[in-house]
Amino acid sequence: MSESRQITVSKNGVSKLAIVALALVFVAGLFVVGFDQGHIFSLVYGEQAFTDLYIHELTHDMRHAAGFPCH
């Protein structure tokens, strides 16, 4: 006859990889919403992206509402 035991243990260790991944998400998201002035799209579209400002315009209203400097 076998006995079944269930033990619940609380571990505080947080995966370093998870921390790094979340830190990258934090920085990338903050840059997209708060600071991009065409930089991201310029990787594909070149200088024209700094004129079109697609991401800047898309995040424009949230940028003002959340307190980021906009223009």
């Binding site: 269930q6 998201g29 315009e57 209203d61 940028r63 509402a65």
Partner: protein, 242 residues
């Protein structure tokens, strides 16, 4: 720690809180943005920089629809971003946060982060609607704003670490330390270089709505992440042996 559940909780909580933030903004901040952009357009016509023509309004409607439609999407992106920072800090500080369950702990942390990362910097560099702000100074203003947030956050973290080394009746010392520290930084940091040219009633009301919007995010992230954490308990691992 169950990493996959931890990441799920953090990212979904951030996205939901960001969605709430975007929706609140869409409802209460947008009317002020429209009003401010209306003044901006009048200034363009009066200065001769642009002309009040049907062509102008067609182009205007085009990009305003794009800007407005981005409010909720940007809210979700920003929510995931700030939510990630919140998740990191919560996971690392959970054991020392006050409260007898994870919901109370998460709400406490969101209150602390709302105050140190948003309210304190807002008092120094409050949000401004369109028409306020010189494009030439945007980089300087961004550096000032981010620096103040970072200084306030790191200062709070340092004094919090200090408080964990103090006995209960001496913890007030670290709170007083942060207050003095941030007060000095507040006085030293340069002012926003831009002059406010828009009507002050519009600017004030916009700022109140902005605070309500951002506060809705911080309230939501604490409640949502706390509820998820209480339910899914990513810090616990169940070992079965037979």
């Amino acid at each position: 720690m169950k990493t996959a559940i931890f990441l799920f909780i953090v990212l979904v909580s951030g996205a939901l809180a960001g969605f709430i933030h975007g929706t609140v903004n869409f409802t209460i901040v947008e009317p002020y943005l429209d009003q401010a952009i209306g003044i901006e357009n009048q200034n363009l016509f009066e200065s001769g920089e642009d002309q009040d023509t049907p062509q102008f309004w067609v182009e205007y409607e085009g990009y305003r629809v794009w800007q407005k439609s981005g409010q909720i999407l940007a809210g979700v992106i920003l929510g995931i971003s700030i939510g990630s920072l919140f998740g990191i800090v919560f996971a690392l500080s959970r054991n020392t946060l006050p409260g007898n369950n994870d919901l109370k702990k998460a709400i406490t942390l969101s209150g602390i982060m709302w105050f140190t990362l948003y309210i304190i910097p807002f008092l120094k560099y409050p949000a401004n609607p369109p028409t306020v702000g010189d494009g030439e100074t945007v980089v300087l203003r961004a550096i000032l704003y981010l620096s103040f947030i970072a200084i306030s956050g790191l200062g709070a973290f340092s004094f919090y670490k200090l408080s964990t080394k103090l006995q209960n009746n001496k913890k007030i010392i670290s709170l007083a330390g942060y207050t003095i520290f941030i007060g000095i930084v507040f006085l030293i940091m340069p002012e926003n270089p831009d002059e406010i040219t828009a009507p002050i009633e519009l600017v004030t009301e916009f700022r109140i709505m902005s605070v309500l919007g951002v506060s809705s995010f911080w309230a939501s992230i604490g409640i949502i992440l706390g509820l998820f954490w209480n339910k899914l308990k990513p810090h616990q691992e169940t070992n079965s042996s037979y």
